[in-house]
Symmetry: C2
Subunit: 401 residues, 2 copies
Amino acid sequence: MSELMSTAQELDAADPLAGTRDRFVLDDVVYLDGNSLGALPAHVPGRVEDVVRRQWGELRIRSWEESGWWTAPERTGDRIAPLIGAAPGQVVVGDSTSVNVFKAVVAAVRMAEGRPGRRDEILVDATTFPTDGYIAGSAARMTGCALRPVTPAEVPAALGERTAAVLLNHVDYRTGRLHDLPGLTAAVHAAGAYVVWDLCHSAGALPVGLDEHGVDLAVGCTYKYLNGGPGSPAYLYVRRELQPRFDSPLPGWNSHAEPFGMASAYAPAAGAARGRVGTPDILSLLALEAALEVWDGVSIEAVRAKSLALTDFFLRCVGEYVPEGRVENLTPVAHAERGSQVALRCDAADEVMKRLIARGVVGDFRAPDVLRFGFTPLYVGFADVERAARVLGEVLEEGLG
Amino acid sequence: MSELMSTAQELDAADPLAGTRDRFVLDDVVYLDGNSLGALPAHVPGRVEDVVRRQWGELRIRSWEESGWWTAPERTGDRIAPLIGAAPGQVVVGDSTSVNVFKAVVAAVRMAEGRPGRRDEILVDATTFPTDGYIAGSAARMTGCALRPVTPAEVPAALGERTAAVLLNHVDYRTGRLHDLPGLTAAVHAAGAYVVWDLCHSAGALPVGLDEHGVDLAVGCTYKYLNGGPGSPAYLYVRRELQPRFDSPLPGWNSHAEPFGMASAYAPAAGAARGRVGTPDILSLLALEAALEVWDGVSIEAVRAKSLALTDFFLRCVGEYVPEGRVENLTPVAHAERGSQVALRCDAADEVMKRLIARGVVGDFRAPDVLRFGFTPLYVGFADVERAARVLGEVLEEGLG
């Protein structure tokens, strides 16, 4: 056995989160794509079956009350809340991340309208996952703002009395770089503007501290580190003191103060429900609610500690196994700047990833030349990490001839 | 046996759609709330289980290609298309009805911008299900238009060179009145404006004829007569020749011409995919796709014929069984003006509906005083109808003391 293999064994033996792997359906594949689609929690199929056969099939319409369907968006939001550092009553689940970005950015611009200054510019992370930029562009167009793409590092200098809202990603989807949420939030506030954080690549992988850092609004998906299932609904966080001023561009009947009053005039609900729109997607939502039970008894701090240990160990193994000069690490080495993934630039990355997958190591390819590996501490172990790096080394040794 | 009971038996015996009832999970309840939540198709639980256990649990990320997840929004749209009179390639499934109303109304206003006239007014059905009015209000606010609520009957007189878009319901959710889609569409077009039809209460219950009548845009939910499950995703129809001009206010990455190109500049996809936004909600979407198989071999014309026979028979039974003056029928008697539900005004309607439900007849209550009964021809029979009216008569005979 190699030194790295025995180190992996020791690390796995000492891992306080080793036991949570049994909460998931896994096989002998090394699954390093949980940052794209989280693995299936073992108890979810039975819960979904109950929702379909009994709640829908037998109780039918009565389930809106009796099975708690109507309140599931807020209830599920409150289950996510502790994972992102939010007190109850501030998170609501529903719609896609893109739709929630639209709600949040438009609402932020409207909040800024009362502030001194011109407040006619939206800053958006130029390195963002594209949908955030596209949606921010639409929000800008529809609120009469200019859209200005800047890198997160350029944000402090770009802020000013024109800034209405700033949309930032907590972790860069491509490089895995973790941005300075507390510092950037404080800078945005000092300029009199509002910040919207996209937590897609951080929630469930590391502490976010929304309340602690005074974040205004946040959105995120639930199918990555939260394991909610393919396309499971996203969430929206609105800081409690801003909720009365949250003026939604999508004021559907579910966000009405009296949704069953069927009034022709709109009056927004209090609290997190104000972020709802239409009828919630119950099958996906209750699958997510069930999936969140894998977090019972797990602290996000322990998850973060293991995540850093996994990515540290992966980088060490890559250094040992991969021939010199064949990959370039794009992910920051400093812990404070690293999310829960490692991105390696590599020639013919698309083909290399196909070969890795054929050998049971699943990551993903991001154009034009990036191998992306995500590390979900709840079910990825150190032996998985060693094997992934070893197989990568083998594939690159062999060449692609 | 009473005369109505034997008539019901004869009608059931002669019903060409009697066999489709076996495609659903039903019990001895008379379920007249399929216009709120359709019953569970019998094969759906097994299909959902496969999606969860195998597609998500075993194939995981590979299912986006191998299980056809990525193309499910258009594929499922094409299954709905024939039910609403649309050729393939014009319907896409995703998001809630409210979100689709927003896309459609904003897009209609933007299409109208190129037309002669001021085009700064949106007409909205004043009797609409509230969410359409709230969302149209937001669309008006964000496009600089005025919002003008009018009844469908007032629409022709209200149309003019200021009209940009008109949002109408095909069937009134409260009274069950069917509006004149061909005539109103022609009137809107004659005024140079665009029309958006909400098909929530007509799709799956009667022929719609979107292509035939030249409708511009349409939206609808899938959990009523389409039996897609609680909160299953809605759909958006954009007439083929208007697709190149469909300018979405929610241009998420799923609507990009090259969604995996990860370009920072937005370029819209061609065709129905342009109406997509974020990652599709796979569990709910594939449950809906499976549910649509109950339509195999069923013509919407046969469904309409049975629907009218059911509601005719219900009104006749109510006339026989219910004490004079205790209910007032709000639903048009003329076939051309009737959807697939009957609404009865009734004192203490809320309490009356509770008693009906306690006796196994499930309809719903709509504030302030309406008993609403929906008739889904695929699984409601004439004996059900007779029993529902008879139980209503008994409840009202007894009084509410």
